[in-house]
Each structure stands twice: as C-alpha cells, then as structure tokens.
Symmetry: D2
Subunit: 469 residues, 4 copies
C-alpha cells in the first residue's frame, strides 16, 4: 500500500488443548499483520485465569519460554492489537481480564463499537469505574451488571446494548465463547485440532498449527465451547450481513480464506479487472511489495505485459522503524524500497498497489522510479478511492487526511506525478469479488468508498468526539 | 534459500560529511542482509575516535538518537557482522578500535584471513596480547609493530603478511583508507555524496543515501582519503582476481550492482538458464520467497509457465525467531511460509530457490506444498550443488552438513521428496554470469562448487584447528 | 529487629508548590522505611492527574529526571508500600488513580480495612468491577456510587461504610484531602513549606524538605485543601483513639515526632525501663544495628554498662538481597552482620533489639556472638512478646509463625540459646511511652501484645479468608 | 566522613573450593565498602578461565544465580573497584583477563602504580596495544613479553619493573598467585576454609565465609598456590614497610583485623586520644554515622560525656543516589542525615568524624545541627588534616580541593562554622595506632598528612599528567 492505512486487530482462541497458551502464541504469530502495537494471552487451567499482555510484537512479548509455564491450562484466548479505540498504554492491551461477582472473565475484541461512549457515560453515572479507555471494557461492565443466570444470556444481554463491529472471544475458567456481530463486519473462523476447538480471525492461523478448517462463524452467531462440546446460538437481532471488503483488499493475509474465498485469488482477480478497466501500453508491471504483488500478477497475466519485481523491499525494516534525526527524515520510503535499475531504466512502467491514503508515499515512490530511469509511470490501484472513514474497526485517517476524499483522481494523478492513474471501480471490485453473475447478492460493506454505512452511528453532541473518528 | 547459509559481513564508510555517523547508520541499514549478529560505528571528529558497537540489528543498536550526538565528526566507518571467525561476544563487534603508539585507529573487515592463526601465534610469541578472537585484530597488531612512517605504508606492511579475503575500511583521526584484497573476493564500491567520499560493500547503500556511484574499488587497490582528497595505490602483490560468485547467487541484494552487473538481472538469467537446462511440463512456477523470486521470474519467462506467489512469507518472522518450547519446534518452516492453496491445489508445481544446504528445510516445504494439494513438485536450484566449504568469508556449514558434499543429486531428490530436481550447472552458471561469449575471461571463485581454491590455505599442524573450518 | 516484621506503608502529599512531584519524591525518599515494595506519585496540574507507579525503591523508580517533567503541577500525593492487603503486581501500586463520573481522583492509603472483603462482595453484586486486589479500591468504588454533591461529603459517605485503620490522602484535579480514621491507628502529620501545605506519615519527611511542622491530623479529622485554603471537618463517628504503639517500637524513624513525642527518646526510655525490669551483670551492651541502637543506649545509661557497636552492619545489604544459591543460603545473617571480636571476646554481652519474630535470626546472631568469644549472652527486647496478629496495617506473620504466640519466654530463651532473655512488660512499655503518671490516659493499641483489639473485625464465613490475616 | 574521600579497591581469591565463584561473590560482598563502581569474578575449572565483570554493586552484578553456573571451577579471584586510575568504562572492570602465549591469566589489583604511564609509553613503542586504561594492564604486558620459564619468575620479572602500591591476585588455569608490594601499602590476608586457601584484602571477608585467619601476607612476599600446596617467595627488592594508616582511619571495615590489629579498637583509641588532645565541656557526643561511631564511643568514654546517636542515617540512600533536578540539589546532606531534635536541642554538642575533605558537607551538617537547636557545636576529627594527595591507591581530591591543604585549622573552623575544631595530631595518631612505647617502630605511611612519601614517583615532563594525581 502506498501509504500506511492502519490495521485493526486479530483474535485467536483454543479450547481443550494441553498446550493452549503455546498454540495461542503461534496463532497470534500468524495474525501479527492484523496488529503490531501490543498483544496478549489469557489462559485458563479450569480454576483461574492468568494473563500476559504487553506492548510489542508477539515474538518479543513472548520471547521468554518461562512465560508459558505461567500460563498453564487447556484453554486460552489471545489478541494482537492496533489501537483503534484506546490509547497506547499497556493497561489497554487485550485480552481484558477482570474479576466480577461471577468469577473471572477475559475478552478479546476485533472491531469497533459505535455507541461505546454513550454507554460508558451511562455506566459511569451509575457508579462504574473504568480502568481502560477501550471500547471493549463497556461490554465487560454491561456483563457485570446484568442479572441473567447463564453466561450466554449475560453475554447476549450485554451485546444487545452495543452497536458496531465485533468479532469477540470470551474466556472464563471453564468456557470459551465466540461471537460475531449481526453484520459480520470482521471475519471469524472455526477450526479443530485433534479434539480441541480453535477460533481465529483468519485461516492462516489454523494452517500454522495444522488445525482443520471447519467453517466460518456466522454473522450474529454465538458459539459456546465447554467440556460438553460446542453449542451454537443466534441470540442477537438479525441484520443483513455486510462483511468488510477491505479485508480482501488489504487486511487479510493472501494465504487466508475468509468470507468464503481465498484472498490471494481475489486480489489477483482485482488485478485482472483493473487491467480490463484501465489498460495501458507498457513494458513492465511492477508491484509495490508486498501488498501489490497478487494484483500485479493478475494485471500482468490479463494484459500480457511482463511482471518484474522492480522494487526491492528491505526486509529488516519493521513497521516500527524509528528514524534517528530530523535531518534524515526524508529517507522514509527509500529505507523500505529501492528500485532495480535494470528492470526500470528506459521502460514504461505500470506500478500496482492496493490503495493510496495520503498520496505522499506514492509521490516519493514515483519520483524514485523516474530517478531510476523509467520513461513512463502508470499507477493502477486495485481498489476504489478511499473517501470515507471507517467506523467498524479500521483506523483510517480522518477525511482531511484521505487524499481521495477531497481530490479528484485527476488531481491525485498530478500530485503523485504519475503519467496515468487508474482506480478499480466499485462495480468492478464487487464483480471481481463475487463474480459478475452474483452481483445482486454481493452485500459487502463498501462504506469507505461510497459513504453508505450499513450501521448508523449515534449523533454525538460533543464535537470533539467527532474528531476522534 | 531452502536452508540457512550464513552470511558474512558488510562495511560502510564516509569521509567529509557533516552527519557522518547518521549516514553510516543508513548505509549499514541497507547492508543489514550481510550480517545480523552485531553492528557498530566509529566516528572521527578530526581529533579522536568514538565508537558504538553492540549485538543486534542496526535499527535496534542505534535506536536512541542521542547516540549520534556521541558520535560527532565528519568521517565514520561502520560494520554489520555475522560471526565468521570470532565468537558472539560483544567485544568481538566491529569496527575494532585501538589506541597505539601512533594514535587511534579503527578497522572494519569483510572477509576471512586464512593465515590468521599462524600470525597470531607468531605475534603472541613476541608478547602481543589479543583482546578479541577476531582475525581482524591480527592486522591491527601487525600495524602496531611495523616501523614504517606513513599510514599507507604501515597498512601495506601489515597486509603483505596476511593472506585471504578482505575488503577493509580503516579510520584514523584524519584519514579513511579502503583496501580490497588482490583476489577481490568481496565487493567494495566507491561513491560520492556532495563533497563526501563513500565506500560500501554494495551499491544499495549508495542508493539509500542518494550517493552517486563512481566505480568499484579494484582488487589489490588501496584508496586513501584525507583532507587533500583521494589517492589510489596498488601496494600489494598482484593476483588473478576471483570475485565470489555466491554474491550473485545469494548474498548481495538484488538491487545492488557489484562486479559490474546488477544482481537482479544476473539471478533472472540463472532462472532462464535453469529452464534451458532442466525444462519440465508444469502448471505454475513458485519461488521460495524472497530468495528465489528473480530466478523464478526468469524460469517462468523462459519456460512460458505462469509465475505465482504460491508461498506467502510471514513478514514478522525475523531470522532471530526463538521458538518457545521443544514441543512446537517442528513449526519451524510453517512459521515462515504458508502455501496459497488455490495456486497449488491440483497443479504441477515448479519450486525455485537459489540453493539447498542441509536439505531438511526443502523437505519440509515440499511436504507442505504436497499437503496443499500439488499433483507434482519439481525443484529447480539456481546454483550448482554446494559441496565444498568456503575459506574466504562465508560461514558455510562443514562438509558433513552440506547435503550435496556427500549425496548425489538423485539421493537428494529422494530425500527432499521432489518429483524431479535440477541444479544449475557450473558452466551454465558462468555462462549466465558472464555471457557465453566471455566464458574464457569469467574468473569468478567457484570453489564451493568445484573445490578449486584460488588461494591455498596454510597447512596447520594442529588437527583441532582444521575442525574450525 | 531480630527477624523481619514486615512494614506497612507511608504517604506524602503537597498542595500549592511549584515542584510538587519533586517534593513528593523527596518526602517518599524519607519514608522509604515504611515500605520498600513499590511506590508511586500522582500529580495534578489543575486540569488532569498524571501518575508514575512501579515496583521498587523510590530512588530506583524515580531515577530518570524526565519523569518529573511528566508529572507537572502544583499538587501531588505519593505512596510507599509494603503489600499488606494486595499482592505484588504493579497494578496494585498506589496511589490508585481512576476516572469516574465526577472527574479523576487518586488515593494513597496507609492502614488496613477490616471489612474490605464484605464491602467488595456487596459492590460486585451490584456490578462493580475491581481492577486491583487492594482494600483501597473499595473506597473508590463507594465514592463513585455515592450521590452526594461535594467531594468532602462523597468521601465521608464512603468512609462511613469502612472500618479499620486508615491514614488517607486523596487528590483530585483541584483539591487534596487528608483523613485519619477515628481510632487514629496510623500517624498523619500536617506541615507547611512556604505557602504550600504538606501532609506526611512522619515528621522526618517534613525535615528533609525543610517544611515546618504544624500539628498532627487528629483521629477522625478530614482536612480539605484547595485554592481557598485549608478546612478541617470531623464527619466520622467519634471513637476512643488508639494509636499503634508499634510505630514507636519499630516502624517510625527515630528522628520523627509522632503521636506527640520524638521516637528516639521513647525508644531510649524503653531501654532504660528494660534495664530496670531486667538488670544483669555484664561487661558490654551491644545493639542489633540499627533497630536496637536507641534502646541499647538507654539500657547502657541506666545500667552503667558500657555501650559498644559490637556488631557491624554491612551497608550494602538491601532488604532485597537475593542469595544466589541454595548452598550458601545459611549466610543469611552473616551477610548483614559481623561481630567486632575485640568488643566481644571474653565478655558478658547484653544484646538489645526491639522484637523477636520467628526466633531463627536471633538464634543465628547469638551463635555468631558466642563464636566471637562471648562468655555470656543476655538478650533484652525493648517490647513485650508479640503474640497476636495485627489487623490494622502491619503485615505480621500468622500466629503459627510468631514464636511468642506459641512459646513461653523460657522456651524462647532455650531456642535462641541466650543465657537470659528479658522482654519489656506491657505495663513498662506504656509507662515508658506516656510516663508513669499518665498511665490512665495511655490509650495506645497494644493488641499485638495482649490480644485486645480496639476495633472488632466482622465474622467471615469463609475460613480461607481467616488464613489471610 | 564529612566529605566523600573516594575509595580504592578490594580483592578476594580462593583456591581449591568446590564453589569457588560463590565464595568469591560472598567475599566481594563483604569488601563492597572498598569499591562500588564495578566488580568482577574470574574462575578457573583447571582448563580455562571464565569471567563476569560489570559496573555496579556486587549484589546487582551477580543477581542472577545462573551466572555461577557459567563460572565453574575450584579456583576464582574477584575484585571490587573504585576507579583510581582507569575510567568508568566496563572494559576497565577487573579482574583483567587475557590470553597470551602461555595460556590465560587474570589479575586483580588493589593499589596504584606510579610509573605506569612511563612503562606504557615504552611498551607501546614496541608495538603493544592496550585495551584498557588501567595501570594493571601494564603488568600483563610486561608479563607477556618476559621470556622466563616459570610463572613466578615471569610475575617477578614484571613486578621488578613497576613501582607503587599493589596487593595483587593472579589466576591461571591451574594456579593462584598473591603478591604484596615491598612497602606493603595495602593489606592482604591469608586464610583457609576447609582445604581451600583464601586471600582477601580484609579479614571481614574471611569471617563471612567462616574461613580461618592464618596470617597477613608480608610486604614483598609472593605466595603461589597450586595443587601441590602453598609456596612463599620474596623475589622483590626489600624496602622499609609503610602500610597505609588511612586503612585504619577510614577504609577498612571496623570488624576487620589488618596490619595486626582490629580496626574498631584502633578507631576507638583515636577517639580517646582526641579527647585527651582536645577536651571540651559539652553535653553530648554525636558521631557522623557510620564513619564516626567508634571514635565517638572512644571520645565519650574518655571524656565522660554521654554518647548519643543524634544524627539518623537514611538507610535507603546508596552512595549512588542521583538527585533528580537542579532545583533540589541542595538536599544532598539532608537526604542522608537528619538530626534527632530531642538529643540536640539546647545542648552543647561534640560532633565526631574521621576526616574533612572539602568542608562543604561539614558546613551543611553543622548548620543542620544548629537548626535543630544545638547551643554549641564542637567538631573533633579522628585524623590529622589531610593536606597531600595519595599516589598509592586512594583517589583523594587534588590539592586544590583539599580544604586542609590550603587552609589553616582556624580558617576551616570558621568556614564550617563550628565553635571549636580539633584534629588528631600525627603524633597522637601514631601513638594511638602503635602504642606510646612503640612509636619508634611505627612505620605507617602518613604521606597524606605530612607529605613525606615513602616511594618517590618519577618526574613526568607532561604537566597535564601531574594534574591527574
């Protein structure tokens, strides 16, 4: 992606495995692309919950093998997090774990609630004290106040109050519960490993631990797993599902299968469709690595123009690279990417990526490609212009930062200094996702492209709050 | 690469730049692939040298911007290191820096000396005390004992005693000196940034800081840079140059130009030649990312079989991944790579990589590909079988660990369970590197493939020492 | 003290000083003897509260001067803690700070509540979620649920529900509130530094920052300090004050003045009284440093036997000394103390300390003194036998660990191998504390000696809980 | 001591004990007062040496029990260090350990060489490269260059070249060697623990590990300990012994026996002598804790004035206390000491300490005592004015910083604002140390008081170097 569009979160849980925390560690490892800010695991040994949560990458936070001895038990849930709502403090790391009158409970949340502030105000008026700024804590407080007898009812009571996107995993001393919101914005997958049940944001987490894929958890479904087995309920109000199409475009790993299709193939199809919508005479198709690779292969195949890895990515650049001094700040893009001169010199280059956010990175990369001797630079983006913010768990910049919310494609083309610029159309996107023949039934959320939000958020009186989104 | 063939080192130096240490940091950053064990920078402000050296990646070791304030001055040299000779202790980090009777001197070394132990014994007999186990310290002690007047003569005196591979950078209070051994085993590049001279292992380091490429430093050449400018000398015995062909196959970054050619193009040509030598009927060409990508693109182009990124690499796996527990050790390969089922299922797959070391990783990957549904798996390696150890700076496993030193290709094929296995021939390798028409003049070191060492190492009486190699 | 009797906590607050956090740091520094487990400071700049809390000593936790920039403002409260109730987790560090419906509030607590578990159960039933295991959090939750308008009323509402020992400091954005429980178990001192008000557990904290001592805060008194000045209220039920006599015996620093007298003098008087009650023919009076020094000086003066520092304390032993290996564990006492042979050899030695807890340390020290050549060893303890646990904030061992709760003085004498053993009588203790003439009005809490608890604790049904005390 | 007069070093070694490194750790622990800057242990398992050395206190540097597994073997030497010569870098930590032509050798040094720079220049001219700035490295280089056959001869060859103060411990794979310089400036003690030999700077290290004291190692003596037992040699030029009297005054621990007497008793005698030389009518004798305590007890006994601990030391102040901000820098003394008002108010106070260095601390303490209500303050110092720097291992301030090198006693009295000030006379000091009757044979080094140096240092041409001393 030409600019950093920040990610959301990933969840993983396992019930009934002798090395539950270990497996969760591996699952989080494979979901690391969904959140690099912090991570955590809560494990249950049947009697009590134990947690380890910290800022940092999974491999760093769980570097010490001793940690796993401190997380004994046969069930565990984990979370990788990019701060959507909730600041960077360690106390905001998930899974959140609390003791309440019924015992202990932990929760890991992927998504974003749109009435969290409202509910929080209401709960604080009643004397609740919040210890984090995370949306997710609202769910816990609602749970603590409901008088229903069964865990599933208490969770359902709480979730009937909240609105928004949520793929949730709960863990108590003896149960694991997975819930996906009625719109099914975020993916949630069910698998099995020997006798143990596994729940994860993406199938790549199942692959790593060699678990078998069973099915996706349905929008509005609650799955309760305990000693007696697995129970499925649909306790929430029914809605028209609207899974997030950005999972296909950018978030999910290409080797994952979500919402019924493997991501790599969908992305390649976006590239093919892009070649159909915006053909160009050129000598070489070059992806922005690694986000643009599948679409570039698709574009190259459809157009017949050779595919080349014309930009080399420095593997040792983490997303957390801290540039040491003001004076070298402009090395930002070069530190990540360097052109292969031989591939580019004297050529007409088609550059493929999945999105443009602010446009500044695209502009720098194009300058770099021209500096390496390109004759022409044609940019092709395998998604429509991102013009609207997301309220369902993706931490997009505000509208003022989104170049496509305030500039026409022609203006963006001029700004980033490409010869031509083409964005995949919304119709093309849906066609490539669902197939031309299924367009009618293609109910993905495309709010960030078209502004039609499947779930309305409440009016807030406080203007400052709007700025948060 | 199917197995980890460990890397060597990288050097970077700059003379006459107001932010010399900063620039060196960036240069090392782009040379990180040449050594991840430790790194260091020594800077001179014209009066004294200051050092910061530590185990770890460049971005970690130099995380704190304050460090650069402690490394003031207009000249600096740096080093990234994988331990060839010299253990893992921090005191073995380079650049080595000492005070001796003439002042201070620092040295950064890429390569390996073959008579270091001999010289060390001799110097210790005379009362020298070594404070590291690095070969490089021998050079410093020779330098300290020579009586020549000028720095260049003292360095030449010392280097006339040593045999082996070395691309060296020296820094004193007022001078920077670069030397490449007469065989020119390792690359060394000269560039310019505004008025400052830059020396680096590869051109990718020039690209990052936007320095201009001037030329390669020649085998046997010494370049002295001081206030008066740049002087070139050839003070060492002349030899037939024999640059290391493994730099093209694996070590150098694909976007670098070394030994006269850009690496990406050479690798693609290896893929094409491989397709000519070992064609196969198949449905898809899949590289081991990222090492096999250029050769796979070449193979695909030559053979007409579609290229696909059928194995996805987990970006958050460092080479330093520490597996937490014995019980999950077998996740080794899966934690790095996961197949794209859609690309592989039901297909005849050509898998491309640059080398096989022990064969264990290849075996696991092939199993994984078959598990994803491949009908056939054909392995193509873009280099000849690596049968002999390297004494010139590459930390290859010992002969007993190199599968190709003790097994026929057919045996390897059986072991890794591929349907067919093809290695690029030595002739094909040289042809692809130099062009068919220049084969006579193609004097690369191919000792690791054919056992013909361009520089003989001394007989050691102590058997234990042989074990070291 | 012959054995470790664990300490309680210390609090410090300042209102209206330009370097409030700095002053609090110094205040905590001088109160470090009251708690070495963790410490913390919360500061207010008039608009919001900021905290830094961590496990460790004050000098370590606040080592980085930058921390004070992150704690701006003219008011601050701080806490040093030994874990009475509440485990060792960092989240249990005080001051506790929360956001609730009325804004932010922080609280630092010295003491122990005896109905905390009861109240916690009740609050959890109502849906409150606790984020620590500290008693103190109960007060915060009670506060959050009360509907009273003013801060002082809300605090009073909350405190009317709790029973136990508390010297509390609250900080909001604009106010500091200090409260001492109606029994006045723990000390709490009011001082002034230029225009700023200071509240602290002991006067030694005033001395360090050169603040002027004003008066002690009275049992049951609440003091509210804000921009308008200082207000004193008595909103709680009145009780017969019963300050903790152990503050004089061991806890408070000898240079502090609490409960109306300077501690050093009281301790010396205990030594004099001990000499009256248990005279002995001997050659030298030797204190266990440093706890036994004032009483030893008193004993020496009263008896006319010379005082000598016959046991030398190793200054570099923190209370946190970690013995490295099982095999050297028995060095425990020797690592802290070593006898001066010249003082002890051939002598009849009176050894003075303030208490004996388990007896094991006393036994080792006496062995050490005999090994250095003592002819006789007479042990004199400047307090009565500690036979009963404390529920008011002192973390004494359980009854089974207290040697004096299950053994007669004669049995203890045999166990520790002293020639004679004398404990100060309860009557002698009170006489020495208040003067013979004031014995009637001498209402100190001596529950740990006599078992008469001034404040009854509620019956708990859960036996496990009793074990906690 | 009224001001910080910085300390020297301590050494410890053990040969033939199954837990040699553990024992050395404990020995260093008890010698911590001789150096708090850094420490280290080198252990031998009979085949090779292993080291752990670091900046910090013993308890911190060796906090991790795993370290002892990495220091196996039956012999070990250790060192605690305050930087006399040699900066603060970790590489300057001792014991120094090197590999040279004869194997490995480690050395721990207490003392200071006066011709180290001369020898270093000479060795560098011959091509030696120094890796530390420590004097001690000179000895190692001399050793490496000597051609003598036996270890004892090589050490003797090297030591015949050096001049100065040294109590040295050497460790090779199979031997431990202890040497004390011909003047015997620094103490060195021989002991035995079961079958193992122990060497230490002071007897307090023997006491801790319950080793038996055998005798002091003699000035000029070399002791070699190996499998065959202990051998004593006197290979160095004979000199008039001149042990450092400051060991008695301040450096050694009061519970140690060195130079034939226990330190506590000597210090008490200084106090008695001081009372004889400078009697005063007063109400109370108060020591500066803890350095002034023994002399104060002696003064009180001799004068009949009651001894009181009128200044309380904050135990949690390490010597490494870092004051957080400029604005609170003046809390320096108060953070360490606080007066007991009851003891001081309205009294005529005799304050006792062992020395005054710069006078600033004394001035602050006296101000503090007067502020607590003292009617008169009489200062008595249990040593003569320190007017000359030490070249034999004590890091005294330069002459310009020593208040007594440039001011008369009357001027100092005015500066520190005492009513009267008395320093022990040199004659009184010697009388109290050796007994009046032995004054003729009392050959202690008193150079820092009288300027008569028992060992002349070489003239250096470089003035800057003089400043170093």
């Amino acid at each position: 992606m030409f600019d950093k569009l920040e990610e959301e979160c990933g969840v993983f849980g396992i019930y009934g495995h002798p090395e539950a925390a270990n497996m969760t560690y591996l699952g989080l490892y494979s979901l690391q692309h969904r959140g690099q800010e912090s991570c955590g695991i809560v494990a249950s040994d049947g009697h009590s919950l134990r947690a380890h949560r910290k800022s940092g990458l999974v491999a760093d936070v769980f570097r010490d093998p001793v940690l796993f001895e401190r997380l004994p038990g046969q069930s565990a849930i984990g979370h990788v997090r990019y701060s959507t709502a909730g600041g960077n403090d360690e106390k905001n790391c998930q899974p959140i774990m609390v003791d309440y009158v019924r015992g202990s409970i932990a929760v890991a949340h992927n998504g974003n609630l749109i009435n969290a502030q409202e509910l929080r105000n209401e709960l604080e008026q009643l004397g609740s004290i919040f210890s984090t700024v995370a949306d997710t804590e609202v769910i816990i407080h609602l749970l603590a106040r409901t008088q229903s007898d069964s865990l599933s009812e208490r969770i359902a009571d709480a979730l009937r109050r909240v609105r928004g996107a949520y793929s949730l995993l709960f863990l108590t001393e003896t149960r694991m519960v997975a819930v996906r919101d009625p719109n099914g914005f975020r993916p949630l997958i069910l698998g099995k490993l020997d006798g143990a049940y596994v729940v994860a944001s993406e199938t790549c987490a199942l692959d790593l631990i060699e678990a078998e894929f069973i099915r996706e958890i349905e929008p509005g479904e609650m799955i309760i797993i305990d000693k007696k087995g697995l129970h499925s309920l649909f306790p929430l109000e029914v809605a028209q599902p609207s899974p997030c199409i950005f999972e296909y475009i950018y978030f999910a790993r290409p080797d994952s299968t979500i919402f019924g299709r493997e991501v790599y193939g969908v992305r390649k199809e976006y590239g093919r469709q892009l070649a159909r919508e915006f053909p160009v005479e050129a000598d070489v198709v070059v992806p922005i690595p690694d986000s643009g690779v599948p679409a570039a292969i698709g574009y190259a195949e459809q157009s017949g123009i050779p595919f080349e890895l014309g930009l080399i990515r420095n593997h040792y650049v983490g997303r957390t690279f801290i540039e040491p001094q003001q004076s070298i700040r402009h090395f930002g893009v070069k530190i990540k990417l360097n052109p292969v001169r031989e591939v580019i010199e004297g050529k007409r280059v088609v550059v493929i990526d999945d999105s443009i956010v602010r446009g500044t990175t695209a502009r720098k990369i194009i300058k770099m490609i021209r500096h390496a001797g390109a004759k022409e630079v044609h940019v092709r983006i395998s998604s429509p212009p991102t013009s609207y913010p997301c309220y369902y768990g993706i931490d997009t910049p505000t509208r003022t930062e989104l170049i496509s919310s305030s500039h026409s494609i022609e203006e963006i083309n001029r700004y980033i200094t490409s010869d031509t610029l083409g964005y995949l159309s919304i119709e093309g996107l849906l066609k490539a996702t669902c197939g031309s023949e299924n367009l009618e039934q293609c109910h993905f959320c495309t709010a960030c492209f078209c502004g039609r939000y499947p779930l309305k958020f409440p009016r807030l009186k406080d203007d400052r709050q709007l700025g948060l989104f």
